[in-house]
Amino acid sequence: MIRLTVRGIASQCQRGRRLIIALWVTCALNGLVKAEVGFNRIVRSILSDHCYRCHGPDPNQRQADLRLDVRDEAIKINDAGRAAIVPGQPSESLVVERIESHDVDAIMPPVDSHKKLSDAHRALLKQWIAEGAKYETHWAFEPLVIVPVPQVRDASWVRNPIDRFILSKIEQQGLAPSCQTEKETLIRRAALDITGLPPTLAQIDAYLLDTSDSAYEKVVDQFLRSEHYGERMAVDWLDAARFADTNGYQVDRDREVYAWRDWVIGAFNRNLPFDQFTIEQFAGDLIPNATLDQKIATGFHRNHMMNEEGGVLPEEFLAEYLADRVETTTAVWLGQTFNCARCHDHKFDPFTQRDFYGLKAFFNAVPEPGRGHYEKPIRESNPPFLALPSPDQLARQSQLQSEVDSLTKQIAALPKVTLDQLDAWVTQLNAQELKWFNATFVQIQADKQSASVSDDRQWLSFDAHGDRNLGFTAKLSPLPASVTAVRLSFASELAESNVRLRDLQISIVARDASSELSRLKILPRVVGNSVSVEELAKAFDTDARSIAVLKLGKNSPASAVFEIAHQRSTSAATVELTANLKFSGVTEPFCMSVQWCEQSSALLVPSKINNVARKGIASLSAEEKKQLLEFRHAQSAEFQALSLRLSEATKQLDELQREIPTTLVMAEMDQPRPTYVLMRGAYDKPGAEVAAKTPEVLPPMNPTYPKNRLGLARWLVDPRNPLTARVTVNRFWQAIFGTGLVRTSEDFGAQGEPPSHPELLDWLAVELMHSGWNVKSLLRTILTSATYRQSSRVTPELLRADPDNRLLARGPRFRLQAEFVRDAALASSGLLVRKLGGPSVKPYHPAGLYEQITAGNGTNTYVVGRGDDLYRRSLYTYWKRSVPNPAMLVFDAPFRETCSLRRPRTNTPLQALNLLNDTTYVEAARFLAERMLREGGSDSDSRITHGFRLLLARRPKAEELRILRDSFERATADFERDPQAAQSLLAIGDKAADASLDRIALAAMTSVASTILNLDEAITKE
């Protein structure tokens, strides 16, 4: 077993550069052929892997003052009169001496580096030196030029230039391309590649019937015109853009940026040229006369995470966000690993730390906070953002605003209180003291036995500890008929502390002699030193995050007072106050009582006013009189009524503002923040100040471009930039063939893998630019090539010669991306809701995942959506960074915390469990079964064939049909014996089963449909 495993490993690993250097190694080892060893193809990777760490671009790591990445340096004669490399003379070269040394102290690479050159490596290096040690510019930095299309032997196979590049390599290896695949397989392949959905039966049938030469081209064009194209293309772009619906890091609250996702879908669908696609996402806001759409596009660079953890420092995380933008930009557009240059000059590629911070400076002018505040509404926590009101919302907004304006005017026009009236009131106030009486608690519900009641039932005491829920009823007596106000009082004997109140619900009910109830209206008031009305309001609102804080002194109680707004009937026999509330963050024991008073409401005044009034009208200053007049004015019934309406209207306006969708965008500060090189990348170790500048080694920015994000974007898509077009076409190639021409699609540097077909890569890149960055046209060229149309069958010969299909002597065959696995099941079953765009939705999800790991008390829960929300395409699924959708994760979706350009493709039992048992797929199987029974004709063979075609596009072969027919018959017999099981199976999922269908047949067909849904082919593009 172990031996087999090890052999397996060797064969697994004989991949990668096999194509490129297999021949070289064989030749070098056998000494059979003496062909020239290329620097780009062979030598750079050997030197980079084994030597550059200490003898490469980074001066801080450089040993012995020797660098091998620059020829002049490598051949320089040292003090001892020798050179590391003597072109043409391996035996004179110090490099050769050291790599062949047997002395553990002298051998290179050093023993403790754990790097080791193989015999093949040494042979290749010696041959390269013997051949003159010619250096070449790294292939990815070479300017893009028009590439001649190669000649091939079998020109009849060729449909477009792509095929010549591919075929010439295949022929060089003595292989032949595969034949064109079956029409059903081809249309399914193209549909999945372009729309992410399987083709419909109508599309398949039309294609099968179309015998014209351009039948397939028509199909490709049809798919490219579908609006699902934009959705399919957006999926890869969302990974690149690290798009998610939450902020990430510890707090991980929801953010709103789905309008940007809609923009991406739309941009692909209207075939926005890739250069413009780039410019609008970087700097839509800086384009003269920018449209709303162009501003929304700038959400691209706001998709990074944002930290709201209480203890972090703003500058610490601002540095992270900016570094993220640099790393994302350089990875997505330039295919470079700039994260290495954040702390030091790049060890393998010619980028300096200054280059990193030069790029950072382009992004360092966004008016954004480094740290969010989790206590604030999310929008205020993470500016800048754009509000996107609907026309209806705009209308309501202006209507509410004019109501607010009008009420404000009416209030201003109310008659003022006269001095006589004031005099009378002051006299009344000074004649009486306000007296409070304790109410009696009659019922108490407190969690965890945290409250205890005093013997006279007039006080509740609480121990100290975290959060508490409390509900109680208190009876006001003995003279309830004349209650004018109630008060909740809190007191602590021990220490100062805060009582935090939220979710306060309070009601006062009067009961007359015949037990008739009447609910009394109450209004918060400030009386004496009670808490302000604004503060108290925080306890009443529905926002769980807003909390009223009552400050308790050692011997100064805190209180909340409510006036009884409407006089109760004098016949009331009892009055009861019932309240529910939550305390939080309690740190000290405290006690509470309910009190009431029965005096005139004219006496319910704050201490501040009372103290003034106590002086008597005669001794008041003009200022004090004014203060009292204003207070009385505000207490008048008319004022109160209007104020109430005003606060209602203001509240509605606020609520409307909160309903209006927003989206995160970029904006530019007038004065950019200064940017410094950060020593070792640390936010608190600034070095030299740097200006916005593109990397030194790449063609400079056109001097007429502005030195801001707009200029940077235009530089990225400047035709002289050798990287953007190469990197971009490679990613599209990867999306279709599963592997890029450069396999390391995120790394076009020295440590990345060179292209399998360098000329084809360049040809495609030039094509893209010459077509005006036309993405649909590029995809059409790829999809209509003979290369793409090949059968994906593997032969033992091909598997041996090219296990990873890098030569493309066969068509692509690989598992669908997570999103498309689910989308295909929904689409085939007819469950898919084909609505484009909009806020993220919450489809089925295992219960309890959020509660286990998110913040707080396990109350953060995933609420499964309803109706259409359950059946939207997967790119609309809510993406929480701390707990991404588990079914997506199981199928290799990234966390979306940082840019990701290449997903792994694993094959695990967890995937099988998901497809077999997740409600999503059980319900989809039932719906597919319903279609099979309803639309599939009258016998089981035709019904099974129908379902097979809906999912796999092709008809089952005889043997496949036999297995599925047996399966159906077995399941039918089985469910007939156990009809309860059939019922249970049919009950799964939100949508009810079609009642007109026979239960047993539907259950049996559901089991057949689930079988088909679980086939390797069902989740594979073939």
């Binding site: 697994q12 790394d747 440590q751 593997v794 598997l799 295992p846 048992n917 399966s967 390797d1016």
Partner: protein, 475 residues
């Protein structure tokens, strides 16, 4: 013999002839694969540990209350922490507005335990009984001062997310030891007390840039201990088996036609899924455990989802060949009311943690199991908020804290490292997170500098560019 799918990113150096350079190749074993190696042929060293049980105390337990005994602090009650001790240490946003940094001596009594006389406080009576099996490291330190970066560093060797967790590295490097369960399992419990629980992230047991099959599989209490494990209503095991036979037969027909090895891998994974459907419920079903087990693990151990119940599961996972078992118990973040909060946390964890170690020992498994107990950083000697003799809070402290180690290759009854009188700075034998990880890797038979994975052109490893093996804690 299953045919394995290609490893996504195997180093090209391997092809050039240097097979040993690409350790990760052993990871060709798929997640949960049938590759039953007790010792990987690519392991560098003799392994003392076959598996790891990491008892992660999330939120940061206070070392001052548990094992870093500081008797001299009593004399400093409510006096300011000398500036010379604080030495410019960064403060968190929680205490940066505080005018004073008054020293809060621990309210709890300490005693020496075992032959070796290891100091433990009264909060850990059960752990203290195992003093001679446990190594206390008092000098662990980290760089991060806030939960998310610190937990990310503890788990992945880096403060910024995106790298593989320790468990994922081990799954990648050493592969599976069983046919029916995941290689790396994570379990999470909430505090029973009213303490606030800091959030975690799925990525903390994620695979980072390693293929996602190496990520930890979350095991929960409830109907589906592993996500999507149970058959849907109406599908009993016989029906499932029959369906799987059909799926397998159809997939074989596909393979005959297309010859794609991935199809065979798919068949194998469906079979593995079926085995998991039987193995996981059997694993999670504690009803067959004798009463003595529950007595040993304490009163909470009968409640599914508690830390105590998870400790029993940890032992059962270990018995069934799971290589990396990570528990998380949340709720250690006592910025205020620390004495009552930590008492409640210790009620949750002390007895079950100790019972787990004794249980492994009794079964002869402690000798090849590495058990680690600890959090993401320590807590400050000065009080946050109100300070009385009996009540105080403590803020985050990255410069030093304590963890416990036991089991395979660990020197029991040993106390490593020393902090100053304020448990504020390390005065002797500091251990960085990278050193801890390097040491744990060493015990697993892996040279931490050689288990690497190439991503974005760089060979990454768990210990970044650091990590020294702490030889003095090894037996």
């Amino acid at each position: 013999m299953p045919i394995h799918p290609p490893l996504a990113n195997c180093s090209r150096r391997l092809f050039l002839g240097d097979a040993t350079a690409c350790l990760g190749a052993s990871a060709l074993a798929t997640l949960l694969s049938g590759d039953l190696r007790s010792a990987s042929p690519l392991m560098h060293l003799t392994a003392k540990a076959k598996r790891v049980i990491w008892l992660t105390q999330a939120g940061a337990p206070s070392q001052l209350e548990l094992m870093d005994y500081k008797p001299n602090l009593l004399a400093h009650f409510d006096k300011d922490l000398p500036e010379s001790v604080r030495g410019g240490q960064r403060l968190t946003g929680m205490t940066s507005g505080q005018k004073r940094f008054p020293v809060a001596p621990s309210r709890f009594r300490f005693q020496q335990h075992g032959q070796a006389g290891v100091w433990f406080s009264e909060l850990l009576p059960h752990t203290a009984k195992l003093a001679d099996d446990i190594c206390v490291v008092r000098s662990l330190h980290t760089e991060a001062i806030n939960h998310d970066p610190a937990m990310t560093l503890l788990q992945t060797g880096h403060q910024i997310s995106g790298r593989p967790s320790f468990g994922a590295w081990v799954a990648y490097g050493l592969g599976s030891m069983n046919h029916e369960l995941p290689t790396f399992v994570a379990m999470i419990s909430r505090p029973s007390g009213p303490t606030n629980a800091q959030p975690l992230h799925e990525r903390m047991w994620g695979a980072g840039f390693l293929p996602s099959k190496f990520q930890g599989v979350r095991l929960s209490s409830g109907k589906d201990p592993v996500l999507f494990l149970s058959n849907p209503g109406g599908i009993n095991p016989a029906r499932r088996r029959a369906m799987l036979d059909d799926i397998s037969a159809l997939n074989r027909l596909k393979f005959n036609d297309y010859q794609d090895p991935e199809t065979i891998a798919r068949i194998d994974q469906y079979e593995m899924a079926f085995r998991m459907q039987a193995a996981v419920p059997e694993l999670a079903d504690l009803s067959r455990e004798p009463e003595s087990t529950f007595q040993a693990y304490g009163p909470e151990s009968k409640k599914p989802g508690t830390y105590a119940a998870n400790c029993i599961l940890a032992r059962r996972l270990a018995e069934r060949g799971v290589r990396f078992i990570q528990l998380y118990h949340r709720g250690w973040d006592q910025h205020n009311s620390l004495p009552s909060g930590i008492s409640s946390q210790c009620y949750d964890t002390d007895q079950p943690s100790a019972a787990l170690v004794s249980d492994l020992k009794q079964r002869g498994m402690l000798e090849d199991t590495l058990v680690i107990w600890g959090g993401e950083f320590g807590r400050t000697v000065y009080s946050q908020g109100t300070l009385t003799r009996d009540n105080y809070g403590r803020d985050h402290h990255p410069r030093c804290y304590s963890i416990l180690l036991a089991g395979a290759g660990i020197c029991g009854g040993h106390t490593h490292g020393e902090t100053d009188d304020f448990s504020y700075n390390i005065v002797r034998d500091g251990v960085h997170i990278h050193d801890l990880n390097a040491t744990a890797m060493h015990l697993l038979g892996i040279d931490h500098t050689r288990l690497t994975f190439r991503y974005q052109g760089r060979d990454y490893r768990l210990t970044d560019v650091d990590g020294q093996i702490v030889n003095s804690i090894l037996s």
